[in-house]
Symmetry: none
Amino acid sequence: MLKKERQAYILHQVNLHNKVLSSTLSNEIHVSEDTIRRDLYELAEEGKLIKVHGGALSHSFNEVHFPSNGVYSQSNKKKIAQKAINLISNGMFVLTSGGTTILEMARSLPPQLKATFISGSIPAILEYMHHPNIEVILIGDKISKNSKITVGLEAIAKIRQMRADICFLGTNAIDLHHGITENDWDVVQLKKAMIESSQKVVCLTIAEKMNSFQPIQICELNKISTLITELPPDDPLLKPYADAGIEVL
Amino acid sequence: MLKKERQAYILHQVNLHNKVLSSTLSNEIHVSEDTIRRDLYELAEEGKLIKVHGGALSHSFNEVHFPSNGVYSQSNKKKIAQKAINLISNGMFVLTSGGTTILEMARSLPPQLKATFISGSIPAILEYMHHPNIEVILIGDKISKNSKITVGLEAIAKIRQMRADICFLGTNAIDLHHGITENDWDVVQLKKAMIESSQKVVCLTIAEKMNSFQPIQICELNKISTLITELPPDDPLLKPYADAGIEVL
DNA sequence: CGGGTTTCTGCGTTTTTTTGCCGGATTTTG
DNA sequence: CAAAATCCGGCAAAAAAACGCAGAAACCCG
């Protein structure tokens, strides 16, 4: 088994179960605990997980591990949220993924907006619930404690049944060559389904995550209708994407 | 159980109940009191809680002396929760409804319990998510904002597919003649489905709600396996229910 | 193709961490 | 004041981590 492959597996396990033991992994993958430890060390260096004595934990355990004021790059995410909200009009069916950018959008929805929001992200759902005029449809299935969304075949099947007007994706990595990519297999499956079920696909991302990529591909760039970042639409960084036929806001 | 995991659990408990006892934690997590004490010491060093003789207090407890949340009859609900938890063992599939009594139960689940919890109640799901060893299955559908649970045909269909070992119902009204009753049509449909899908049906209710009824019937008394109140099992108020063949705890 | 270099992995040894336990000191409680 | 509960410090065993090393595989480059 290749190193990268192994690390991807470890990461998947952490995201799924919220914790892993070095000894368990060593047995599962049939490599020495030293190797596992070295893998965990590297993954911890990259910030993908938290290494502790005896194994590793997912980030969701240390909730206050992020910058103390809360969400990373929050002011940028607010800008993005504002632009995204302009795309929503009354009566629409809106699919959303998880992630802090989406959460920021959920918080900023104008109170008079009447629409139906569909999501499997628990934090997002909590925000939608507080909104006076929004109908909320929750996608059910097994909950991934790490990403706080529902994942699994049931969830995917349910999304496939939907025909949404618009779909907002919090994006982890976007790149001209690889399209949108992620590091969690389950999340990838969900997002793929969401894209297929929506008339219009909107990617929300902070500029920092642009032109980077991760192991698993969600889709090529041509599936994306609109790209929203905190930058002005004419920023040179966005030019290649506009040239690729994507509406850039 | 990993050290960090344990400390996260302790912190969660402190923030939830505003106090913890070393002895209780030691029993719950199955480690020596010495270990608990050392954990408390470390957490206190980090300023996460205040260590006192015999246990620890939450920081917020000092600042505001009356933050005790507004749940009605909470101490009674804790008693009920404790009795209910004794019915759950490792590996079980557990269906739960919504309601503050169920929520209290969710909060009090011992950390070493490994089980699968299935629910459409958002607040309950949030608690289950914090638990280190519980798998959470979320029932999806349209969210009823006022009861904070998912309701609708999809949810009912999904519950019907389940075969749970046990089902806990937060009960609004129970009565010898009318059985269990409710005032929300959607909730009634859900609870009916839950009863049908479970081997064992447990009703949780505070004594105050006993011998009252509401407009819509969920089921007759004979569908109920067990009734749990804050009263001792031999309380005369409970006699008629025991006589009706219900196990009373 | 071949030789040198880098990377990866496993093994033995040493070091550190974690945890439970014990005896004596300290605090709490009735 | 006395009994019970709790705390503290030290100790020891077990588990895990760190370290250095060496063989094997992969890679690079002329």
